[in-house]
Amino acid sequence: MNHTLILSWVTFVYFASFVLYLFRLITGKEFWGRAASFLAWAGLIAQTIALILRWKNSYDLGMGHVPLANLYESMIFFAWTIILIYLIIEWRTKSRIIGVFVVPIAFLAMAYASIAPDISNRIEPLIPALQSNWLTSHVVTCFMGYAAFTIAFGCGLIYLLKNKEKGGVEKPAGFSAKLPDFTTLDTLIYQSITLGFVFLTIGIMTGSVWAHYAWGSYWSWDPKETWSLITWLVYAILLHSRYVRGWRGKRMAILAIIGFGCVLFTYLGVNYLPGLHSYLKA
């Protein structure tokens, strides 16, 4: 079976999963939640198979590289990591609520990758600068970080939504009673950010090592490098204000959202600035 066909089905499956998570939130019936999780797992497995097929396909075409080499492939992989990390958290915390906010981001990434007119889904050959073993470790760690920050962003949104409705007080009834309590959200935001921070740090470092071998300098102030450092610093500021100044709750949520904005700019916005990371320009 063709991997692009599987991927377009997966896009649809993630959308259906999101709708079911929404059903669960509105009706409060766990049946919908279980169905949503099932779809998300099915989508993840199908997507994994599609990625492996694409990988194999690139060998058949005589290029032979991991499917992480252009904007299309990175978008698909981004969606994959978001769902993976989300499902792990769902399994660990036994809470399905974040799905409503996180699964649609994965869906949007998949949809954008296949619909956007300037993104080609063709398997393209690797230019010499990308022919390196560091490609996989750099891209995988960066996107794990991005995905963890996405989860933090989703939790931050829920926090602000709940906060707006109730002004920071827990109420036993109403829509927001179906959302997780403030402490859980705060812990989730913090934990996903620490995870993302470690991955982003390793991602920047593997990138530096690679740049050291490919370009002759571990740091070139290329806009993508600079923006990854900006993102890193924003999350560092967040962690310091939490540890030392004791910031919690709403402030963390707002910083998690600002941080995610930086992640998106590092990933996509930077492509409109001139620089060395031009492989992602579609």
Binding site: M63, E124, P125, I127, P128, A129, Q131, S132, T187, T194, L195, F197, V198, T201, I202, M205, S208, H212, Y213, A214, W215, G216, S217, Y218, W219, W221, P223, T226, W227, L229, I230, L233, V234, A236, I237, H240, S241, V244, R245, V270, L273
Partner: protein, 460 residues
């Protein structure tokens, strides 16, 4: 201590300053990425007012990442980091060496149900069970007998208290490495044509030349393309020559740098040299004279007639009739100039009396030699980037330390646990409570688990 010094010290030991400085650095970076190019900014500033132009020039604001403004921020940040670390160290040291007993005040008050185990066995049997259960998960176990009862203490991950110090030290080490690199390092570019050797490099900074004490020869340059025309690989076969001897021969590829005499060489680019090479053969009264590869300006020698040849011109397409070269041959008797066309046969087929009308187009004008042009070849040049950066070991060390520090801070926690075993009338109560430096959730789970285990083992 004078009061001013004290104020300055406390100013630099505040985390508010750290956060402010980090925010300023972030804003500087954001501005930096949106600045189109250094020249444009400087022109714009000069346009604004001559004063602004001077300010921009003084702080090098047109290149923010190398501006004095950025360096000042970095220096303040480093100072802040060092002073914060020194300031907090005594408290941390006390925390590290905190005595295990007595336990923190009120730690055994108001414990939830699961944390108190009541049994009616002998205290002598219970103690080893508790101790062995604790030993499974905690490295350090302490014990004390008091009037109130028997106490156990367990801890693990105490060194994680220093994780933050490791991270901050790693930042300082990386900054130091970067400074060493920018002060003592060198970056330059060299373009070498195939077959030539070069011992001078263009420094990336400041448009100066750098003389190497060895030379690099490009023996061969190869480039391969994919079907769609994007380059697949390009490689240079290089020889490093010192004092007239080839010291090293190696192939340089993108992503695979070479090292020679403390310099690292990178395959950074390639291109086509402006000159074209001509592959020429000649016959001497019917006998083959061999093949020569020549460019415009080259000379060659014809031993058979003691004549010297000059390549005057090499043309890719002259008068729309294809490639040609113009030669001049000088011997003791003659001095002739003529053209050699690659496609002479076709030209003669169209104009049969060309060679008699135009002797200049006769490749056999210098008798008895007849020249022919086999083909023209483009000459590639390979673009090498060379770097010497003595700061790299420090930066790498800093990077490793940072990852280690982050893992210690985020994923290892300092857990302390107290167990209080008390004889209450005929029964014995076991109470368990703990403290951790962060993430109490994990500690709670651990205590619940331990209580359950100990309870089960005592019953068994």
């Amino acid at each position: 201590m004078p009061i001013e010094k004290h104020a300055l010290w406390s100013f630099f030991s505040s985390v508010k300053l750290t956060i402010t400085l980090l925010v300023l650095v972030v804003l500087l970076f954001i501005t930096g990425t949106f600045i189109p190019s250094p020249d444009v900014v400087q022109t714009f500033a000069n346009h604004l007012s001559p004063g602004a132009g001077k300010v921009f020039l003084f702080f090098c604001l047109s290149d923010l990442y190398h501006s004095s403004l950025f360096y000042i921020l970095l220096a303040l940040l480093s100072l802040n980091l060092i002073i914060c670390s020194i300031n907090r160290f005594p408290a941390l040291w006390r925390q590290y060496n905190a005595p295990h007993f007595p336990e923190p005040d009120g730690i055994f008050d108001n414990l939830p149900q699961g944390r108190i185990i009541t049994v009616d066995k002998e205290i002598g049997k219970i103690k080893p069970i508790v101790k062995s259960s604790l030993k499974k998960y905690y490295g350090h176990i302490g014990e004390i007998e008091e009037k109130r009862g028997h106490f156990f203490y367990a801890q693990r991950g105490r060194f994680s208290l220093f994780g933050v110090y490791i991270i901050h030290l790693s930042v300082l080490i990386m900054i130091a490495g970067a400074i060493i690199g920018s002060v003592f390092g060198l970056e330059a570019d060299i373009n070498i044509k195939e077959g030539e050797s070069v011992n001078v490099a263009n420094m990336t900074k400041g448009n100066r030349l750098y003389n190497l004490d060895f030379s690099i020869r490009c023996d061969k340059f190869t480039v391969e393309f994919y079907k769609d025309g994007t380059p697949k690989t390009y490689r240079s076969d290089l020889s490093f020559i010192k004092n007239g001897q080839v010291r090293r021969q190696a192939t340089l590829l993108v992503n695979h740098p070479l090292t020679f005499e403390g310099f690292r060489f990178y395959q950074s680019t390639y291109g086509i040299a402006p000159e074209i090479k001509a592959i020429i053969t000649y016959t001497n009264a019917g006998e083959n004279g061999g093949e020569m590869t020549l460019a415009a300006g080259d000379t060659f020698f014809l031993p058979q007639s003691r004549a010297r040849g000059f390549v005057l011109r090499v043309e890719e397409n002259i008068m729309q009739i294809g490639p040609a070269i113009k030669l001049r041959i000088v011997s003791q008797k003659k001095d002739v100039q003529f053209w050699v066309f690659q496609h002479l046969d076709q030209i003669v087929a169209v104009n049969p009396d060309l060679l008699t009308k135009m002797p200049m187009f006769n490749p056999g004008l210098f008798q008895p030699f007849v020249f022919s042009l086999n083909r023209l070849e483009q000459t590639y040049f390979t673009g090498l980037h060379l770097v010497c950066d003595p700061g790299i070991p420090l930066v790498a060390l800093g990077g490793l330390l940072m990852v280690a520090g982050l893992i210690i801070v985020f994923f290892i926690q300092y857990q302390r646990l107290w167990v209080f075993i008390k004889q209450e009338d005929s029964k014995i109560s076991i109470r368990m409570a703990g403290r951790s430096n962060r993430n109490n959730q994990q500690l709670k789970k651990k205590i619940d688990y331990l209580c359950k285990r100990i309870n089960e083992e005592i019953k068994a």
